[in-house]
Amino acid sequence: MNILILSLILALGIYALLCKDLLHSIIALSALSMLSALLFTMLRAPDVAITEAAVGAGVTTIIFVWAIRHTQRREEDS
């Protein structure tokens, strides 16, 4: 089960890096945070899980979405 969640986290991280649509990247990062929180709960670290869920899935998502609204959504090909 841990291996499954870890490989999902890895896949979401790679997707967030490679995806050209930055909004999709943010949603992938948010899902990655939720999976990490689940993993921390299963490894009996509920303190870290609360922090990860509140900061990773809550606050940073708001900040990233705000940053995208004020810049641009698509990543340009370099």
Binding site: D47, I50, T51, A54, G58, V59, I63, W66, H70
Partner: protein, 243 residues
């Protein structure tokens, strides 16, 4: 050009293997001395049942002060950038989530779903945040965790309700933040007068009341973290730039 990129990728993979492989291959057992010591002594020394709280507010409270300072500097820098940003593009760019509908910019995305869900969810999340903050010495949680949950509930309330409240006013929030930081500094030097040193527990250990210092520090840190992150998020959403 293509060969250079391929070479870069190969070097990156090799470096990752170098870092991760050492951890996987190594047969050195995990250190257990600190764990056993904390398991035996943490409750008597600090009065906190939750060992994580005992570490970061009892043994290593100095690190918590440093972390709070780092957060303070980060928020100060963000607010400085935001205030200067508001001067140039004051009305067009800022998305006014917090204003009533007739004063809001046209591109502000506020649907009925967002208003209903966030305004109903906000108070419950606020209560849960204060629970996590106040019971940090017993159950999982603490000042930082509870503070971030309080901050997200304030953002929910700012998104969901049209009425102006003092909870979503950045001036009030930043004043609470300043008072909380002053209280943290005062609480940190309070141990000096009771012969326990900087950040020492002023209440004698091995009494029933010795966890109260942990509770006090949790409340102060929770208010500090919660109000500062809420101030930053509301200012980012174009709430009020006048600080």
């Amino acid at each position: 050009m293509k060969y250079i990129n391929t070479a870069k990728q190969i070097i990156a993979i090799l470096l990752v293997c170098l870092v991760v492989g050492v951890v996987i291959i190594s047969e050195h057992s995990w250190p257990e001395g600190a764990r056993d010591y904390l398991f035996a002594h943490a409750f008597e020394d600090t009065g906190a049942t939750n060992t994580v709280s005992a570490i970061y507010l009892g043994y290593r409270a100095m690190d918590t002060l440093g972390e709070t300072l780092v957060l303070l500097v980060a928020i100060t820098g963000t607010m400085a950038i935001l205030v200067n940003l508001g001067k140039d593009t004051i009305e067009e760019e800022a998305v006014h989530f917090c204003l009533p509908p007739e004063k809001r910019a046209k591109n502000a995305l506020r649907t009925h779903l967002l208003e209903v869900v966030s305004s109903k969810l906000g108070p419950i999340v606020l209560l849960f945040g204060f629970y996590v903050m106040l019971y940090g010495h017993i159950s999982p949680g603490g000042g930082f965790q509870g503070g971030v949950i309080v901050a997200s509930s304030i953002v929910f309330l700012a998104l969901g309700t049209e009425t102006k409240s003092k909870l979503t006013n950045t001036v009030v929030l930043s004043r609470i933040e300043a008072i909380a930081f002053l209280a943290l500094v005062l609480a940190s030097i309070s141990g000096v007068f009771f012969e326990t040193g900087f950040f020492g527990n002023p209440i004698k250990p091995e009494t029933d009341l010795s966890a109260n210092f942990i509770i006090l520090l949790n409340i102060i840190i929770g208010l500090k973290v919660g109000t500062s992150i809420a101030t930053m998020c509301i200012a980012m959403m174009g709430g009020r730039h006048d600080l």
